[in-house]
């Protein structure tokens, strides 16, 4: 139940601004003047670094508490370094919940959602942004409804529906639900992006005799790929951290995802803090890796834009 707010940069909009071709021949101009670092610059950097430290400090606490024995934690408190590195808790947890199975479940669900949601978003955005169907704003809003509705409101009706079609306790129920929820956002964003797609490119393709379907997949899809990669990563991370819907629809342990498995450590009255901390760390790693990949996509976008 992380605060899911999302948006993806409308990157292909950059093509909207015509840049004079003479720019690339400017290389001779000395750039030294822009590179000099003044005192103010260092001050700003320090400010940015301090902000980063403040934001990342709580993660240090997670790290410190993940390798403590429970006795150590109770006696020493959460702020102290562990007196001895302790792995029993996390090993026991790993085996108890069959953690690799949970990671695979989470990975599979998040991956499928990311791919399917992007596909649906592309189809919708094509019709809305490029096809300019009548009543576009209302259609976008209609799709956004999936995001506006609080999730608790969906649970009971979907429970009955999935039960009726036999999808209760099946990962596909969760995949379908999240595909719709994420695609809502994807449609909104991608429709705005496609709405400013350069007409010249489309006209050229059309003149070449391509059908709409071909234009979509041969022209629009590749050019907007940076935006789509961003969407894939966002959708993956958001779906990974979801708790309420997997909790409700994935009953058997073999279907469960990582966040649900971690909640196993919180009992009615007692709680295993250090193992929770360690398992949270484990659960963070895949999303962290995905985000780091995402970073490279973003930076690659810089050069791509410059070439145009």
């Amino acid at each position: 139940m992380a605060a899911t707010t999302t948006s993806a940069p409308a990157r292909s909009r950059r093509t909207h601004h015509a840049t004079p071709p003479a720019r690339s021949r400017r290389a001779a101009r000395p750039r030294g003047g822009m590179r000099k670092r003044t005192g103010v610059d260092w001050l700003m950097l320090t400010f940015a670094v301090i902000a980063a430290i403040a934001i990342i400090a709580p993660f240090y606490l997670i790290l410190v508490n993940s390798f403590k024995s429970p006795a150590d934690y109770s006696n020493g408190g959460p702020l102290q370094l562990p007196s001895a590195l302790y792995f029993d808790g996390i090993v026991a947890f790993w085996e108890r919940v069959n953690f690799p199975e949970k990671v695979w479940n989470s990975f599979f669900i998040s991956g499928m959602v990311a791919v399917l949601a992007v596909l649906i978003s592309v189809l919708n955005a094509f019709a809305i942004g490029i096809g300019r169907v009548k009543g576009r704003s209302w259609i976008v809003l209609l799709f956004l409804l999936a995001n506006l509705l609080p999730q608790e409101a969906l649970l009971y009706p979907l429970y009955y529906m999935f039960k009726a079609v036999g999808l209760y306790n099946n990962v596909w129920s969760v995949i379908i639900v999240f595909t719709v929820i994420q695609a809502a956002f994807g449609t909104y964003l991608l429709a705005s992006v496609y709405g400013t797609f350069p007409k010249e490119v489309l006209e050229a393709a059309s003149i070449d005799g391509a059908s709409r379907w071909q234009i979509l997949w041969r022209v629009i899809f590749p050019i907007s790929r940076p935006t789509l990669s961003v969407l894939v990563i966002f959708f993956f991370i958001w779906t990974w951290n979801e708790f309420l819907i997997p909790l409700t629809f994935l009953v058997s342990n073999e279907n469960q995802t990582v966040p649900v498995a971690i909640s196993m450590l919180q009992g009615d009255r007692l709680m295993d803090v250090t193992t929770t901390s360690a398992s949270a760390l484990l659960g963070l790693i895949p999303t962290l890796i995905f985000f780091l990949i995402f970073q490279r996509t973003l930076t690659r976008g810089i050069t791509a834009g410059a070439v145009k």
Binding site: A2, A3, T4, T5, S7, A8, P9, A10, R35, D41, M44, L45, A48, V49, A51, A52, I55, A57, P58, F59, L61, N65, G77, P78, L79, I120, S121, A127, I130, G131, R132, V133, V140, L141, F143, L145, L148, L149, P150, A153, L154, P157, L158, M161, V180, A183, A184, S192, G195, S206, V230, F243, P259, I262, T276, L288, F291, L298, T299, I302
Partner: protein
């Protein structure tokens, strides 16, 4: 003196915006008909997963239901109860503060941080530094809410929490508070936590958007003598305005829907100082098992979010069309 009849000046005709046409030139008068086919998969899924439950919820608002046995029709009773429910109005009041914490502050600070990282740090200290800093700002976004709750608990604990310990060690012990347990500080503490969680998202989005800005514009402006603030307002904000719209709207929706952090940190307390509509709906759905009333709260929340979104999207579309028409 001849009386000059008052003649209302003719209303200036609004220059009509260009009609909306598909971006792919029409051939053979096919019209935009077949574009509807592309919407089919999305619409079908949406209807099943969202529209039907929405309708169901709407129906439930007129019933009393405990979840298993058939619902009992009670007309407008739930709605009447809702309008007189002080807790409900308090929760909406708190939503305004949630908006401050999740929209206003993150967007403004995010904008400045993004510009700082992109404009200054990126150019003068290298792209890698900027990327690294951006990653650290984004980290709270990938943390599951339950874990965030535990960690924040460690920091804000009254007796040996990190914050109070640090305050005491630098001599500011008098400022130490029972951050989450005292009604005076609970809401503010929650807001600070929300800013911490949210800040990465605008930074990432804006930094990506800033890549659209032609560096030449900055250089030209700098040569013309514009300082950083002026460049920021005239160029940066103007060009990434679409992203600003998107971020503001999505953050507002999230602020109105916020549930996770409230659940793990304060459970709406102390008293009702941090209760929010989504949490209130949850207690009705799952604890009291008053599904009808829970549905009423959820539907009311959805209506408010829908209205806000409609206003946003229309404003955004109008601005876009004006821009494209060169007005």
């Amino acid at each position: 003196m001849t009386a000059v009849p008052f003649v209302r000046p003719a209303k200036a005709k609004r220059t009509p915006l260009p009609p909306e046409e598909p971006l792919i030139p029409q051939r053979g008068g096919r019209g935009s008909g077949s574009y509807w086919l592309y919407l089919l998969p999305g619409f079908t899924l949406l209807t099943v997963i969202v529209i039907i439950p929405l309708g169901w919820n709407l129906f439930l608002t007129f019933t009393e239901w405990r979840g298993i046995k058939p619902p009992e029709f009670i007309g407008l009773d739930n709605w009447i109860q809702l309008f007189g429910d002080a807790k409900f109005w308090t929760s909406f009041g708190n939503s305004v503060w949630m908006i401050v914490a999740m929209v206003v502050v993150p967007t403004l600070v995010g904008l400045i941080l993004a510009a700082l990282l992109f404009d200054l740090v990126g150019r003068k200290f290298g792209g890698k530094t900027a990327s690294f800093l951006r990653a650290t700002y984004y980290l709270p976004q990938i943390l599951p809410a339950a874990i965030a709750g535990i960690v924040i608990g460690w920091i804000l604990r009254p007796q040996d929490g990190a914050l109070n310990t640090i305050l005491e060690s630098i001599g500011l012990g008098a400022l130490a508070h029972n951050w989450l347990g005292s009604p005076d500080t609970a809401l503010v503490s929650l807001m600070v936590v929300l800013v911490w969680i949210q800040i990465g998202y605008p930074v990432v989005v804006f930094m990506a958007a800033l890549q659209r800005v032609d560096p030449e514009l900055y250089e030209a402006a700098e040569l013309d003598g514009a300082n950083w603030i002026q460049r920021f307002r005239a160029i940066t904000v103007a060009i990434i305005r679409p992203e600003i719209y998107v971020v503001t709207l999505t953050c507002t929706i999230a602020a109105l829907k916020v549930f996770g952090p409230v659940y793990v940190l304060t459970r709406g307390g102390p008293g009702t100082s941090t209760i929010v509509p989504a949490y209130y709906a949850y207690t009705e759905f799952f604890q009291s098992q008053q599904v009808g009333y829970g549905a009423t709260i959820a539907t009311a929340l959805t209506i408010v979010i829908a209205i806000v979104s409609v206003l946003f999207i229309r404003a955004q579309n109008a601005a876009e069309r004006k821009e494209r028409a060169g007005l």
